[in-house]
């Protein structure tokens, strides 16, 4: 359940890598470091560029750099940029409509659950992923 796609996985891995390796890194660098198909990763990084999370640089020593500080980029930002603004329930769109199922009684309850999950993901930053002990400290607050 709640499986997020490999694309999102790869995106998070790449962001973490870029956070730990300052300076321009090519898609090939990141891909080889983690055994990810280079072309596929490149496509993911393109989306992150469009979402203003990365800056790309062409040419021989080109590559990708974080557009802003890793502490200001959340996991939710990355996932949303890659997978789009989907929601927990299938029938709920961005407009909040439910289409053909006229009496979808679980829509509103799940919308609030969805909101809680968004908050959890928004509180985890790329920087915290590079510092496991810091993140563990952050997450205990959410369990109470």
């Amino acid at each position: 359940m709640l499986k997020l796609t490999k694309k999102a996985d790869y995106g998070l891995i790449a962001m973490r890598y870029l956070a730990e390796n300052p300076g321009s890194c090519s898609a090939k660098d990141v891909a080889e470091a983690h055994g990810i198909p280079a072309e596929l990763l490149a496509k993911i990084l393109q989306k992150l560029v469009k979402a203003q999370l990365l800056r790309s640089h062409h040419g021989v020593n080109g590559g990708y750099v974080l557009a802003r500080d890793a502490r200001t980029i959340s996991a939710f930002d990355v996932i949303k940029a890659i997978e789009g603004p989907l929601f927990l329930t299938s029938c709920v769109t961005t407009k909040g409509e439910c289409g053909h199922v006229s009496r979808c009684t679980v829509r509103e309850p799940l919308r609030k659950v969805n909101q809680s999950i968004e908050e959890v993901l928004s509180k985890i930053t790329i920087y915290e992923m590079t510092e496991p002990e810091v993140m563990a400290e952050e997450l205990v607050k959410l369990g109470s």
Copy 2:
């Protein structure tokens, strides 16, 4: 992102319906009440029976009943029964192994996020879904 399947949606809708309508309800009843294909819903309810969340009864006035009180059944129970024990990250299985990607640096961070989400879903019961104001009260605790 984090879209759960229609099957899980339908499962939650059915559980909520059964919680509000005590007594045996057929799959057809629930399906017609919400515009869901009856055969598909039946297959979903079978999984819930196997997971000990529902009791089925054959025959003329047969149907499905909640196996236990709606307050003791969480949304997580229902989703897990239908979609299986999947996890947030693609590379993380039930054994915690990462297969071919040898250096998956985000596995451990996301595992904790996954755990937080499980907690959120586990705290929402079917009963609370029938009482919106109760659930809203529960959820504000999670946002702090």
